[in-house]
């Protein structure tokens, strides 16, 4: 059976004198490399220049707030259970009276940490989340000089009230995936 017509019959024929000299082949090879000298480089100078990223790219996580600015997360721990890399840890706490504007439900995550070196960006945490609290964003995690800096706490994960992160595309993508 032949799948493509690209197959070639290998021959063991003796090389001719011109082939044995290798010089024509060397000149041909040098012409090929010289033609590359005038080609546009394929390099993307990363920090200055960025490759376009899909709007539903799975990058750095964000912990969402609701419309009133209260945190969605109830520290149920389903994301930590779903995480195949065991990158997520959290400590739950009870909401005190008067903190209703901070946390949506009676329980919240006092500590919520993701180790970005362990995370494999699979997106299972957002699929497991019953409260639509965690989402992956197209933003990339930068590099640091120290391993401890890769452990992201709530300070880096919870979206700022005045700078909401738009996750509608990712939400749509997830609901389509679940159907």
């Amino acid at each position: 059976m032949q799948l493509t017509n690209r197959s070639k019959v290998v021959s063991n024929k003796k090389m001719s004198f011109a082939e044995k000299m290798y010089l024509p082949a060397i000149v041909k090879g040098m012409a090929i490399t010289l033609s590359h000298l005038f080609r546009k480089p394929a390099t993307i100078s990363y920090p200055e220049e960025k490759r376009p990223i899909a709007p539903v790219y799975r990058g750095k996580h964000v912990l969402k707030r609701d419309a009133n600015g209260a945190e969605n997360c109830t520290a149920c721990g389903l994301c930590a259970v779903a995480c195949p890399a065991e990158a997520i840890t959290m400590t739950a706490a009870e909401r005190k009276p008067g903190e209703e504007h901070l946390y949506r439900e009676e329980k919240y995550a006092a500590v919520y940490e993701i180790n970005m070196l362990r995370c494999i960006y699979c997106g299972l945490c957002e699929e497991a989340c019953p409260k639509e609290a965690i989402f992956l964003t197209p933003e990339l995690v930068p590099t640091y000089l120290n391993r401890s800096e890769f452990i992201y706490g709530k300070d880096k994960l919870v979206e700022p009230i005045d700078k909401r992160v738009d996750v509608t595309q990712r939400q749509k993508h997830l609901t389509e995936k679940k159907q």
Binding site: I26, G29, M30, I32, T33, L34, H36, L37, R39, K40, P41, A42, T43, S45
Partner: protein
Amino acid sequence: MGLELLIFKAILVLVIFTITLTIAAYSTYGERKIAAFLQDRIGPNRAGPFGLFQPLADGGKMFLKEEIIPANASAFLFVLGPSLAMLTALMTGVVIPWGDTITFQGVEYSLQITDLNIGVLYIFGVVSFGVYGIMIGGWSSNNKFSLLGAIRASAQMISYELAMGLSIVALIMTTGTLSIKEIVDQQATWHWNILYQPLGFLIFMICAFAECNRAPFDLAECETELVGGYHTEYSSMKLGFYLFAEYINMFISSALMASLYFGGYNFPFMNSLGLDQNWVTILGTVVFFGKVFFFIFVFMWIRWTLPRFRYDQLMRLGWQSLIPLAILNILLTGIFTMREELKNWLFN
């Protein structure tokens, strides 16, 4: 020898020393840039505009690295190796004619440090001395990889020196002199030796690649097989000396190829421009460096085109192809120069 001449020669030595080092340093930059362009990349571009300060950064790094002499290495020879490599690399520049004569206040100054009447022989002597730098470095490291690299390098250099010498013999038969200055002067305007000795030039160029341990003959330091070859154990500026010596050798062999086969500082129509002799000399020097840079580019171009030889292929090419070809070249040159005498001897 007048005092002016002494001062002039001292300045010339200093200038050529500086130029050689600068060109060697910027060859590393050129090598990386050309390699990048040939592979559709950009190359070093962080240090300064277009990465032009990269050689300075590399040199600074070399000086600041920790200097290690292995416990089992013989310390004296370990230091002697790179020093010898650097010394022999710098010594060859003495007999290269970098330009014609310049007349200054009625006195003629030659832009060649010294015009030895055995210039070609001198270069060969120094180049064969250069193998000691590599051999001593590899031996004194007390490391199997280094020793293997050094043995490969010395065997390769000795093998290819033969073919190189034989290819030069044919050239000397046509020019009748060993002085490089005279050889260059004989190639006035466009009578370049490449037109009379194309086969000789090809052999010479291949051997020059082998002598410089450049790809495709870089078996002495092949990273994929021998870690780093003879300089595996070297660090800091001692390693820098080895790498630097390689680039200086490349520059000097380019200069040698340009002056022996491509007319040196001669260029077509140099005498019909109607310019002052000093201007022609300066222009000739510029042209000479243009030729040298072209050959340096060819060195790099070849490196990023051809894969490395296998050791048996290397030896077969040297002993079974290049040496017979060089002898054939000598024979043909001899027949050509003696054609009148041969005709008389055969038909009388």
